[in-house]
């Protein structure tokens, strides 16, 4: 055997291994659903749960007889917290496995990475996590919160109920906190808060030494005005942050912290007794008092065979997205992307907080905003619930996006229509 033929053989083997699944075309009696969540790497900590939720929802739906008389089949892949791999896997799910829709992604980077793929191959992605907004794709549904469905109501609550006059905007240094904080700063200043009463602080990913920052917050808070921290600190860094807060004796009564990325799952890794009273703003808490929620929690615990498993907001978002898709497919009578994109707008499905959520023409959904205080058992005590709010994809508080709207209904079919110029951006001038 010559070297040449060996080399050829090796290359061929590599091609084969990557295309081995190629032949597995969808059997006619099932509808395939792609699940695109990291099961390894840094994001596995958050995303694995969502994979489990999707498997549960699909199993439940199959018990009810599936969709359009066909069973659903989940295709789970692991993009391994690696952004280019997300794009590769999305492509694989759509063109090789021929899935009808994909549920997945957590970080904005992963969504940004797959967005062109979904638009190119014309498929549907349901994205279940709160994000910074400033995006509306024809092929993506954003069932998590936009900044106006989380951040602004939370700040309103603190200003009104706790009389907060001085604000620390602390976040991890990436796009979601940066954008949210820009929106919040513009919003607060529009409410008459002086710039000197706003402190913005950024930390690297996975920051674990919070001593200096907590003591800076303490200093900033000792100016005689009621101070609060608005935290957009990314998941992993929260545990050490809260531990340091607790140890430095910052109690919620003195300087409350309201967080947008801390839910039941994050608290499960934490002794919450020193944190009682700190807040979080979400569209769902496990402690919501509603029958549909009790049912969901029961199913979840049974599905995971773990009585201690908690539920959280992105799970609700996945739940809403999945049910909206099922309803839209049934209304359209087909899983064809274009038909579903048309039929899903205006679909209303129950959410887990006892109301309903509607898919809006901007591909965001309506949801109530809940403010909760952390309790000693790791759950949230809901102190405020608003009426349902429509997710605002283009923030009114950023100068360049305030004139933009999104409406994917015909005839406009535009994700970034500029009401000032009357033109749909992105299609050239």
């Amino acid at each position: 055997m010559t070297f040449k033929s060996k080399l050829g053989g090796a290359l061929l083997a590599a091609v084969m291994s990557t295309t081995a699944l190629q032949g597995a075309f969808a059997a006619d009696d099932t509808i395939k659903i792609g699940v695109l969540h990291s099961l390894s790497g840094t994001m596995a900590i958050s995303e694995t749960t969502l994979k489990d939720v999707m498997l549960m929802l699909i199993a439940e739906q199959n018990k009810k007889g599936g969709v359009l008389g066909k069973k659903l089949e989940a295709v789970v892949v692991d993009p391994a917290s690696d952004w280019p791999l997300f794009a590769e896997k999305a492509r694989q799910l759509i063109s090789k496995d021929k899935v009808a829709a994909v549920f997945g992604c957590w970080t904005s980077s992963s969504r940004k990475s797959v967005l062109p793929v979904f638009e190119e191959l014309n498929s549907i992605l349901f994205y279940p996590v709160q994000y910074e907004g400033e995006e509306s794709s024809r092929n993506i549904f954003y069932t998590g919160a936009a900044p106006n469905q989380q951040a602004i109501p939370a700040v309103d609550y603190l200003a009104k109920e706790e009389g907060v006059k001085r604000w620390v905007l602390a976040g991890t240094d990436y796009v979601y906190p940066q954008t949210t904080n820009k929106i919040l700063k513009a919003y607060l200043m529009s409410k008459g808060v002086a710039e000197s009463d706003i402190m913005i602080n950024y930390t690297p990913f996975g920051h674990s030494d919070w001593q200096t920052i907590v003591s800076d917050i303490k200093k900033f808070g000792s100016a005689g005005k009621k101070t609060a921290v608005v935290s957009t600190i990314n998941g992993d860094a929260n545990v050490p942050f809260y531990k340091e807060l607790g140890n430095q004796g910052i109690k919620a009564e003195d300087i409350p912290v309201v967080a947008f990325s801390v839910g039941e799952e994050e608290l499960a890794g934490l002794d919450t007794k020193p944190l009682v009273g700190h807040l979080a703003a979400w569209n769902y808490f496990q402690s919501v008092d509603a029958d549909v929620n009790a049912e969901f929690i029961k199913e979840w615990k049974a599905f995971t065979k773990n009585d201690k498993r908690v539920t959280n907001d992105p799970m609700e978002a996945a739940y809403i997205g999945f049910n909206a898709w099922v309803k839209a497919v049934e209304a359209a009578g087909t899983t064809n992307t274009d038909a579903v994109l048309d039929s899903i707008i205006g679909v209303s499905v129950p959410n887990l907080s006892g109301g309903t959520s509607t898919v809006m023409p901007n591909h965001h959904i309506t949801k109530p905003v809940l403010i909760g205080e952390i309790q000693a058992d790791g759950q949230f005590d809901i102190v405020q619930e608003t009426a349902p709010v429509v997710g605002d994809e283009w923030s009114d508080y950023l100068p360049d996006s305030k004139n933009l709207i999104s409406d994917w209904r015909k005839p406009m079919s535009c994700g970034n229509f500029n009401v000032a110029s009357g033109k749909c951006g992105g299609k050239g001038s």
């Binding site: 950024y202 200096t212 303490k218 000792s222 020193p274």
Partner: protein
């Protein structure tokens, strides 16, 4: 050192005493004395947050110490109203229902099913008001600890209404520390009252002498509402406190740096053995730290289930467990993989990288990908002041802990016969083996020792960081930086390297921010290595390059 005793225990103990002595407590000459508090409580059932705040004020004004348990229950979220008659009770979970007691008398009011009662909402502002109210009501408690808590509570939520109570309490107080605290509390409360300007001026002096960050906050907060003639006094007081604080701030920064350094030291010290002494580029080192943290978690789980009383000892128990577990894993790795790779340091990088992937995924499969809760024993919670600095207990213990590990390791390396064998083998394998030292086992146990120490570090790091399968990954790069910066193979280098990187980081952080600070530290390490290509503590001479 009050903060060392769990706040809640102390509080409930005090409350119990309050209850027993409440009839003996003097009542105060105030307008609302004699008002029946029970209807006030019942009004809470329908009140929103603002109304509830007023009601608490009225309750506090009764001066009735019997109300303390109910207020405490309220702040803990244990106050309920019965849906049938809107009457308010303290509720304690008893099986699937609540055990109800009267908020004023404490008499039992039977049981209620969970859906028959509704919890009365509570938020931070209400908790603050309640804290102040309870402070006022317990100022004259017979228990010294409770009085100190009460004075603290009033100090933190000053209100002019508590002024007279404070003055009465001060006149009766015999304990020096409690009295001092009360005097401070009085001064603070006085600023928001309608007392004379002279009295306020004196109060400002008192607060100034009290000092600290909080004092600045109090003065700045009060200055807006004070008489303009006092502005000069306030500014002078603030300036004087701040100048005193400046030096403490530097000290505080050094402390933060040392404490960050001690964390780096902990993370790196195991690597100083496996990488520094043995020359293995051990990418699985972080996973050893992670295994140590998970051992702590398992130990705590077992203790929670079987012997809750031992919880404060859980870390002490976890230490040997973590050492043995990770040491054993290290032994297996050395025997199974690394022993075939001696003399090929760069290849150990690949193999241990593979090991680290496998260990991470194993833990993920066993425990799930999410964070696990590792509790802080009470002696590691809270903080205590040293002058103008705040020292948190967990950081202090971690510094002490990492230094003692360092010393212990140094002793093992220099004094024990195992340490002697270890050095002999790493210096001249052939010579050592011809002298009868069983080199393979010395290698194996050296690696196990390094791994075990990484495991112990994991026990400590579980106290300040996430316990998740990713724990190790977040320390591995920093650990290598520390060892290389300090000088490979030199334990002292690791110590000095860790501490100096920690302090450097903390001095950069306030001026350039945490992100740029970290980048700058990395760049400085790169530049430093150019200057001293073998780290801080490198041997010179031809031996190194032989």
């Amino acid at each position: 050192m009050t903060s060392k005793v769990p706040f809640r225990v102390l509080q409930s103990l005090g409350l119990l005493l309050c209850l027993m002595f409440s009839f003996a407590a003097p009542s105060h000459a105030q307008s609302s004395v004699g008002t029946d508090p029970k209807p006030l409580f019942d009004q809470l059932a329908k009140a929103d947050f603002a109304e509830a705040e007023k009601l608490i004020g009225q309750l506090a004004a009764t001066g009735d110490a019997r109300l303390v348990p109910a207020l405490n229950a309220f702040s803990e979220g244990d106050l309920y109203f019965r849906k049938s008659d809107s009457l308010v009770f303290i509720g304690k979970v008893a099986g699937s229902s609540y055990e109800l007691t009267d908020p004023v008398t404490g008499a039992s009011a039977g049981q209620a099913a969970k859906n028959a009662v509704t919890k009365i909402k509570i938020n931070n502002s209400l908790r603050r008001v309640i804290r102040s109210a309870m402070g006022g009501l317990t100022l004259m408690s017979p228990d010294r600890g409770v009085r100190l808590q009460a004075a603290d509570a009033v100090l933190r939520s000053p209100s002019a209404e508590n002024l007279e109570l404070l003055e009465t309490a001060i006149s009766k107080e015999t304990d020096g520390e409690v009295k001092a605290r009360m005097v401070e509390a009085r001064a603070v409360s006085l600023l928001s009252s309608d007392r004379s300007i002279d009295e306020k001026r004196a109060a400002i002096q008192t607060i100034k002498n009290y000092g600290g960050r909080n004092a600045i906050g109090i003065l700045m907060g009060a200055s807006a509402s004070l008489d303009p003639s006092l502005k000069g006094d306030v500014d002078a007081a603030i300036a004087s406190i701040e100048s005193g604080q400046r030096l403490w701030d530097v000290g505080q920064n050094v402390w933060y740096g040392v404490s960050l350094g001690s964390v780096l030291l902990l993370a790196a010290i195991g690597l100083a053995i496996t990488f520094g002494v043995m020359g293995i580029i051990n990418m699985a080192h972080g996973e050893m730290v992670m295994l140590g943290a998970y051992s702590t978690f398992v130990v705590q789980q077992v203790i929670r289930d079987h012997a809750p009383g031992l919880f404060d000892w859980s870390l002490a128990i976890a230490l040997p467990v973590a050492f043995l577990v990770t040491g054993a894993v290290g032994l297996v790795i050395e025997r199974g993989v690394i022993r075939f790779l001696y003399g090929r340091p760069l290849e150990t990088l690949l193999a241990t990288w593979g090991v680290s992937l496998i260990l991470q995924q194993t833990i993920r499969s066993l425990f799930g990908p999410t964070n696990q809760e590792v509790g802080n024993p009470s002696w590691m919670s809270g903080s205590f002041p040293v002058g103008g600095m705040t020292i948190t207990w967990n950081r202090m213990w971690i510094i002490a802990f990492s230094l003692s590990i360092f010393v212990a390791l140094l002793v093992v390396m220099k004094k024990s016969s195992f340490g002697l064998n270890m050095r002999a083998v790493t210096q001249n394998r052939r010579m050592a083996s011809s002298m009868g030292i069983r080199t393979p086992w010395v290698d194996a146990f050296t690696f196990a020792l390094g791994s075990g120490i990484a495991g112990i570090a994991g026990v400590a790091l579980s106290q300040i960081d996430n316990v998740s399968p990713n724990l190790g990954q977040s320390y591995i790069i920093d650990s290598f930086m520390v060892v290389v910066f300090g000088g490979v193979g030199n334990l002292w280098g690791t110590l000095v390297g860790a501490l100096s990187l920690g302090v450097l980081n903390k001095f950069l952080e306030p001026s350039v921010g945490a992100v740029l600070g970290k980048i700058l530290v990395l760049v400085l390490i790169i530049l430093f290595i150019q200057k001293r290509p073998r780290g801080l503590f490198a041997l010179k001479g031809r031996a190194v390059e032989a």
